[in-house]
Amino acid sequence: MTTRIDTRFAELKKAGRSAFVTYVMAGDPDLATSLDIVKALPKAGADVIELGIPFTDPMADGPSIQAAGLRALKNGMTLKKTLGLVRDFRKDDNVTPLVLMGYYNPIYIYGVDKFLADAKTAGVDGLIIVDLPPEEDDELCIPALKAGLNFIRLATPTTDDKRLPAVLANTSGFVYYVSIAGITGAAAADANAVGEAVARIKRHTKLPICVGFGIRTPEAARGIAEKADGSVVGTALVDALKNSLDAEGRATAKTVNAVAELTAALAQGVKGAKVAAE
């Protein structure tokens, strides 16, 4: 099985370039604006889209992404509408890989089998579920792989060489290396430390490795792009969105552009990277 994720990383490899992965929250601040933002991302230079599933209790997220989820929920966002958003996005983009990222409970309540079928039909390519470590693979990972979706696992600084094989065993699409022990939006990791970690993980897998958590600027993105197969930016985009809202937290005429412009700047940073020889 080849997903849009596999195809995209193969193309980027051929082009000798690292991927730029953007994270935004589905339904932030409202469904219509969110769809416009997601549609604008590939044009602005996003190679892969991660779309957050809003959840009331995001235990691994910092204040920015927590607030984004609550904005979306307040305006009536649900998992069902998130899948609808993906379906609408796919109407005019059938190539950009799209990964849903979130927590297990909304999926568990939706029903795992129904969710996987609906996600596949909607055009989702992969899943990143923060609170499902390999120890709980029977819950969603194995069924997702059977349904033809990639299950992208997080590896962290606490994932040592002994544990890496277990973490990588059922991972597909790419590996998401969380560059710091911490929550989203926390301090950035040092690019050299990231380089060593990526090299360590590469000894265990042929999958592309994307690095996230703490990357906020085009310079930082370029630094990471020189060490890894991709860099993920989330909090900075969510903050740009938030800063464009009016006093009541509603979208303004500037909202979509605010996210698109920062995406374009970050994408320039990534494209300026000198990619390390394999």
């Binding site: 809003p54 209790d57 691994a60 309540i109 499902l132 470590p133 120890e135 962290t156 606490t158 911490g182």
Partner: protein, 405 residues
């Protein structure tokens, strides 16, 4: 529900931390290695006689155990039925059962070489117990507490600060216990290298529900012995309040395989089960939060709902996974008491027995007021008096004065 009855109700969890479908290890990868380490350290400690000996020393001389099993004569007369015994956990050092578990976890943290302790707290009793043992063993202590709870449980905030702990008011979400737990988990993910997370109830990822249960089981084990001494037999029923369920599990677990013992857990029904409440078994369904699968209050989309209880210690939209299993398998009956019922019980126990209970066990007393009159005079009923009411005196005083006006 048709669930096969096990040979023993006391053999769980399995090696992956499951009680039936409940429990498990639903945590971020960053925490997984720590949880596996904790499990290893706990297994080693259990097998090490010096660990138990050292703990017993502190339980006797520092905590003040065993706690009395007290015959509540006037409450019994007033209710006119079952003979009511109070398990006096409120007499422990720091004023609640929470210290039993904290002592065990702090000793584990010391074995693991961790120097920084974090905890979540609702009523502040777990926070006070943690701050106390951190003071005793010279460890750094950070306690996360919802901003709403910081307001309503001021006496405990002051106590924690006097003991040298840092209390962090949590402003996210509903600003109560659930959010304090989210924030503690965020701290833990960030400070994995030196930090031990001391969870205050039988919830969270495996092995927490098990190790907290084991440390609290001293309540039930003592009750068995004490009841044998005074009445020469087992009790007929047990009653305890449930936030996450640690005081209840501590009392219940040693009796689960005694079929003659009826067991009642009491959740917080807040304003009533059709309105805002905190009764996850009565009003929730299985979901995944804070590292385990268990009964949770949530909406149709799987978003966690706000709980409400007058008692900060019960104001949580979930319950420990082993309770969810005991409910589904039918071994324990889960009831609920409203804010008003708890307030009435709070006053009744104060006036009849000269014991001001915490608002949490006042929920258990409230159900005793219903259950005891329907039982015969020779029925032996044990209530876990999990904490004393000092922390609630300002809050209840305000409510009662406001009401009497």
């Amino acid at each position: 529900m048709n669930v096969a009855k096990p040979n023993s109700y006391r053999s769980g969890p399995d090696d992956r931390g499951h009680f039936g479908i409940f429990g498990g290890r639903f945590v971020a990868e960053t925490l997984m290695p720590l949880i596996l380490d904790l499990e290893k350290a706990y297994t080693a400690a259990k097998a090490d006689p010096t660990f138990q000996t050292e703990m017993n020393g502190y339980l006797t001389h520092y905590v003040g155990r065993p706690s009395p099993l007290y015959f509540a004569e006037r409450l019994t007369e007033h209710l006119g039925g079952a003979k009511i015994y109070l398990k006096r956990e409120e007499l422990n050092h720091t004023g609640s059962h929470k210290v039993n578990n904290v002592l065990g976890q702090i000793m584990l943290a010391r074995r693991m070489g961790k120097k920084r302790i974090i905890a979540e707290t609702g009523a502040g009793q777990h926070g006070v117990a943690t701050a106390t043992l951190c003071a005793r063993f010279g460890l750094e202590c950070v306690v996360y507490m919802g901003a709403v709870d910081v307001e309503r449980q001021q006496p405990n905030v002051i106590r924690m600060e006097m003991l040298g702990a840092t209390v962090v008011p949590v402003q996210s979400g509903t600003r109560t216990l659930k959010d304090a737990m989210n924030e503690a988990l965020r701290d833990w993910v960030t400070n994995v290298h030196n930090t031990f997370y001391c969870i205050g109830t039988v919830a969270g990822p495996h092995p927490y529900p098990t190790l907290v249960r084991d440390f609290q089981s001293i309540i039930g084990n003592e009750t068995r012995t004490q009841m044998q001494e005074v009445e020469g037999r087992l009790p007929d029923s047990l009653v305890a309040c449930i936030g996450g369920g640690s005081n209840a599990m501590g009392l219940f677990h040693p009796f689960l395989d005694d079929p003659s013992v009826e067991i009642f857990g009491v959740e917080a029904a807040g304003h009533g089960l059709t309105q805002l409440h905190a009764a996850s078994i009565a009003g929730g369904r299985p979901g995944v939060l804070h590292g385990n699968r268990t009964y949770l209050l949530m909406d149709a989309d799987g978003q966690i709902q706000d709980a409400h209880s007058i008692s900060a210690g019960l104001d949580y939209p979930g319950i420990g996974p082993e309770h969810s299993w005991l409910h589904e398998i039918g071994r324990v009956n889960y009831l609920s008491a409203t804010d008003d019922e708890a307030l009435a019980a709070f006053q009744l126990l104060s006036r009849l027995e000269g014991i001001i209970p915490a608002l949490e066990p006042a929920h258990a007393i409230a159900k005793v007021m219903e259950l005891a009159p329907k039982r015969p005079r020779d029925h032996l009923m044990v209530v876990n008096l999990s904490g004393r009411g000092d922390k609630d005196v300002p809050q209840v005083g305000d409510i009662l004065r406001g009401k009497s006006k």
